[in-house]
């Protein structure tokens, strides 16, 4: 990087909507079925069939638009985007061209819990997904054949187009992360980039500092088919370096589409966009315009869950650190878990700590999520209550949690069966302390003469005799009392 140019990044994100049926027919949208089993004459593009708009998809798209602070238009329309390809049965995609569902939104870029920058969202429109080609060779050009699977053809999508407002790969990463956060609370999509239910194309260009023309006119490289947020970041980093090097050599940047190879972290040329495709858009005559009443839009707005910034606020007020809050904000399941657990256990920081350390460790080990956690919020709260009451030490509680996760048992039952309950009986601890003090006069002398480390040895002796069940802070306090008496004596 040097200071002769500015990085310009805009992102186009496709999100598959989690509706029961496809956008224009009643076929299932379920992922992973046998090829071409979720198809019908409509999504196969047979002669004479007609699209009928799925209203559930409209409801999802409107929610997404409102959550991204867009203005939802009461009037929008569908258009045909035309090109020939075997994964596109009608040879046109029904999309929205010049009158999209919504425009003028924004996504915050959040650093340390605060909004560092706001990226403008240009537009959100609805469209149908294409099918999938499984090539029998490396590329369609030299493949021996291609298998067409149209299960995905017609699955509803929203395309979310940002303004070219991002200035680094890191900002792009944070934009995508926050976009996913926001959409995740709406429960309208699986948002799985690895399965393609969320897809990102990144447009990257470098603006020479002495260039003051339109950003649209800069030669732009579009990186397509990137399957994770991390790889979007890597692809952009690579592309910035590649273009900077070319510019440094005085070479022209070519407008093109590039793929990303996650093995070597590089982008590679797919096709030149020098000759723009002519998609011959025109209004879809088979569908009436999409007209939404003000009350429909208002009701959708009222039904939205709290925003990601409101959730951060809620977590901050509960004493959750900004770093921990980001982890919770990024995982709707953990937020739901956190809310349930803190509803039944007052020390919210303690809940957060346990969730993000030991519960998370177990979720990873068992391949679970906070949705499927085998120790639920109430069970965790019960365990934490035992610590609070002094029945368990923190260290013991970890062991109990492990057993709870393994067996599905209740905390108290496991404490009983393991016999690990903490000794909090002052008299009992005092007896052991007196024995240890009596048996180690030299160490006691060391302590009394100022060697603080000697206290640790004595505590260790007490814990050893009580098999670790004595409550440590009580042992400490009682030891100090007993030795103070001993010194006086």
């Amino acid at each position: 990087m040097n200071s002769t140019y500015e990085v310009i990044i805009g992102l186009e994100v496709h999100v598959e909507l989690k509706t029961q049926s496809k956008l224009f027919c009643s076929c299932s949208t379920e992922f992973g079925a046998d090829p071409n089993t979720h198809t019908c004459p409509v999504c196969l593009g047979m002669p004479g069939v007609l699209p009928v708009l799925n209203e559930a998809a409209v409801a999802c798209a409107v929610k997404a638009a409102l959550a991204l602070n867009c203005t939802v238009h009461p009037f929008s329309k569908f258009d045909r985007k035309q090109y020939f390809y075997p994964d596109l049965p009608k040879a046109y995609q029904i999309s929205q061209y010049d009158e999209p569902l919504a425009e003028h939104g924004s996504v915050p870029i959040v650093i340390d819990g605060a909004v560092a920058k706001t990226v403008a969202v240009r537009r959100i429109h609805m469209e149908e997904d294409a099918g999938k080609l499984n090539h029998l060779g490396q590329r369609l050009g030299d493949a021996k054949g291609s298998m067409v699977d149209l299960n995905r053809a017609g699955v509803p999508l929203v395309e979310i187009v940002s303004e070219p407002d991002m200035r680094s790969a890191d900002e792009a990463r944070l934009y995508l992360t926050e976009l996913r956060n926001i959409l995740s609370y709406l429960d309208i999509s699986d948002l799985r980039m690895e399965e393609g239910s969320m897809r990102c194309d990144a447009n990257v260009s470098l603006r020479p500092l002495d260039y003051h023309g339109s950003l649209e006119d800069l030669p732009r490289v579009e990186i397509k088919n990137v399957n994770s947020i991390r790889n979007v970041y890597r692809g952009i980093e690579y592309e910035i370096a590649r273009q900077a090097e070319k510019m440094g050599r005085g070479e022209r940047i070519v407008k093109e589409t590039r793929g990303f190879d996650d093995q070597n972290g590089r982008t590679y040329s797919q096709r030149s966009k020098e000759e723009a495709n002519d998609y011959r858009y025109f209004p879809e005559p088979d569908l009436p315009p999409l007209v939404l009443t003000a009350s429909y839009i208002e009701e959708a707005a009222q039904s939205l869950p709290p925003s990601s910034m409101a959730i951060r606020q809620e977590l901050a007020e509960a004493g959750v650190t900004a770093n921990d809050a980001e982890v919770i904000v990024a995982d709707r399941a953990s937020l739901v878990y956190w809310r349930s657990a803190t509803a039944v256990f007052a020390d919210k920081r303690q809940v957060t700590n346990w969730m993000l350390s030991d519960v998370s460790r177990l979720l990873n080990a068992y391949g679970d999520t906070f949705w499927t956690a085998r120790v639920g919020p109430q069970a965790l709260a019960d365990l934490l209550a035992l610590i609070e009451r002094g029945t368990l030490s923190g260290r013991m509680a970890k062991e109990v949690l492990d057993r709870m996760y393994e067996t599905g048992g209740r905390a108290e039952d496991i404490v009983q069966s393991m016999g690990v309950s903490q000794i909090t009986d002052k008299a009992a601890i005092q007896t052991v302390v007196q024995q240890v003090v009596a048996g180690n006069p030299h160490v006691v002398q060391d302590y009394l003469s100022g060697k603080d480390k000697a206290l640790g040895f004595l505590v260790g002796q007490v814990m050893k005799q009580t098999k670790g069940q004595a409550k440590p802070d009580m042992v400490n306090a009682i030891l100090k009392d007993v030795m103070a008496d001993y010194a006086k004596a």
Binding site: P41, L44, P47, L50, V52, A91, R280, F282, P285
Partner: protein, 486 residues
């Protein structure tokens, strides 16, 4: 009276009352088709065995069920651009040779549920593009009134089948006149309802914003009967209207209360002298009944043909893109994907279809869209407004259906522009979405002349009522003799 001469309404009422069996009817229809069809060539596919089975099934119904069927035992022919599960649906194109749809068009299933018997699929201009049925990839259809002449198009097979008394009624589709023009050439009644009245689900799209299915029949009552069965909201067609359909009153027309408009722009050059004479006679007969016939102005008519031949090919170029050889229909091999596409479409489509795909593709291209497609859509709005203003002053507008009479084979097919211009009176109804019906008005030089009646949007009730009233004023010329008819 022979069964094949009976109206659909008579057949249905006799079958309902068991005065006639559907089987007996179908047997005579099959015999009639066998005798006459070789002279006409109206059908691309006949399935008489299946038709006989359907007829027997209707006869075997409990009488309570049969009595509820509005088309009990009525033989119907269906244009070959409407999907049928029991017969191929090719739209008279090589690219769909042998294609059998896994679904019935909504109109077809409504006919079946009403007790109709589908006898076959009728010939047409390929993908409904043409005015003579000469653009079929498969065969010529001859006009029953003069076998050297075309039946009109694109629903030429349906019109010829009805005129030749092979079926009492048939379905056609009308994008720019494709029901009314062949009805006029063949001397039958052809009715295009308001856009959205009849579901387009299963109709192979030509121009989606213009296409509308309607009946061809030997009288207005039969056309109304079929219309009643096929019209109505269909959840499978987002452009179908959610409004109640109303049927014409059975009363006589009191002509003194009818205001008839005749567009001054329609009397222009190119109007056949015979047709013009018929129009004058029609007007004077209506006036003698007390109707008021006034001139109306439809000033944007002169742009109608130009607008139509931009909108229709533009939509067609998109609608016909799906015929790519990938999933169904004809496929020509190629060295790679692009070559397969090119070979398939080059070999699968006929000349007229390719001409319109090219026209439409050009009209939608970047840099031309505003000048062509968008401007044509604006003209549509102006034409619709012309009609709205005209219908403020008159109940119905009367024009000849076509400026000419059925022409000889080959006479116009070499000159596409001449062919396009013969749609001048019919395309405005599609551009404006209004209902229109063509009714026979005698012969000129032995060839049928048709009069077109145009009504306001959703004005079917009054339009059909007036058309039926006119039918009573103008006795039928009878039907052409064919295949040894006496």
């Amino acid at each position: 009276m022979r069964i094949y001469e009976m109206t659909a309404g008579d057949i249905a009422s006799k079958v309902r009352r068991k005065e006639l069996s559907a089987t007996e009817c179908m047997e005579e229809i099959a015999e009639r088709i066998g005798r006459v069809e070789p002279f006409v060539g109206a059908f691309l596919h006949l399935n008489l065995d299946e038709a006989m089975r359907q007829a027997r099934a209707i006869d075997n119904l409990p009488s309570g069920e049969r009595e509820r069927l509005p088309l009990a035992g009525v033989p119907v022919a269906v244009k070959d651009n409407m999907a049928t599960q029991t017969m191929p649906t090719t739209a008279a194109s090589k690219i769909l040779e042998g294609f059998v749809a896994p679904y019935d068009a909504t109109v077809v299933s409504r006919l079946r549920h009403a007790g109709a018997v589908i006898v076959g699929k009728t010939n047409m201009d390929e993908f409904a593009m043409g005015s003579s049925t000469e653009h079929s990839a498969y065969q010529l259809t001859r006009n029953p009134w003069d076998q050297d002449r075309v039946p009109g198009g694109s629903s030429g097979g349906s019109a010829a089948a009805v005129a030749a008394q092979m079926v009492p009624v048939a379905l056609g589709s009308d994008t720019g006149g494709s029901i009314r023009q062949p009805a006029s050439y063949c001397g039958v009644t052809g009715f295009k309802p308001t856009y959205g009245r009849v579901s387009r689900y299963g109709l192979i799209a030509f121009a989606s914003s213009l296409d509308q299915i309607g009946p061809l029949a030997r009288n207005v009552d039969d056309a109304s009967l079929i219309y009643e069965v096929i019209a109505g909201y269909d959840p499978l067609d987002a452009s179908s209207l959610r409004v109640e359909k109303a049927l014409p009153k059975a009363t006589d027309v009191s002509w003194a209360n009818v205001r008839i408009g005749v567009p001054k722009q329609y009397g222009s050059s190119g109007l056949d002298a015979g047709v013009q004479a018929r129009l004058a006679e029609v007007i004077s007969r209506l006036e003698s009944q007390g109707a008021s016939v006034v001139e109306v102005s439809l000033p944007h008519t002169e742009y109608a043909i130009a607008a139509y031949y931009l909108v229709a090919p533009a939509e067609a170029s998109s609608n016909l893109s799906r015929f790519d050889g990938v999933r169904y229909g004809y496929r020509a091999p190629g060295a790679d994907l692009l070559e397969m596409y090119e070979n398939t479409r080059a070999q699968g489509f006929g000349e007229e279809v390719k001409r319109r795909i090219l026209l439409g593709t050009h009209a939608l291209s970047a840099g031309y869209y505003d000048a062509y497609y968008l401007k044509a859509q604006k003209i549509r709005t102006l034409i619709r407004q012309d009609f709205e203003q005209a219908f403020a002053a008159v109940d119905v507008i009367l024009t000849p259906t076509t400026p000419d009479l059925a022409f000889r084979f080959g006479e116009k097919s070499q000159d596409p522009l001449q062919m396009y211009l013969s749609d001048v009176y019919t395309v405005t109804a599609n551009l404006a979405g209004i209902p229109a019906i063509s009714t026979p008005a005698g012969l000129a030089g032995g060839l049928p002349v048709g009069m077109q009646w145009l009504g306001p949007i959703m004005g079917e009730e009054s339009l059909l009522h007036i058309a039926r009233g006119f039918e009573k004023l103008w006795p039928s010329e009878g039907w052409p003799a064919l295949g040894g008819d006496a």
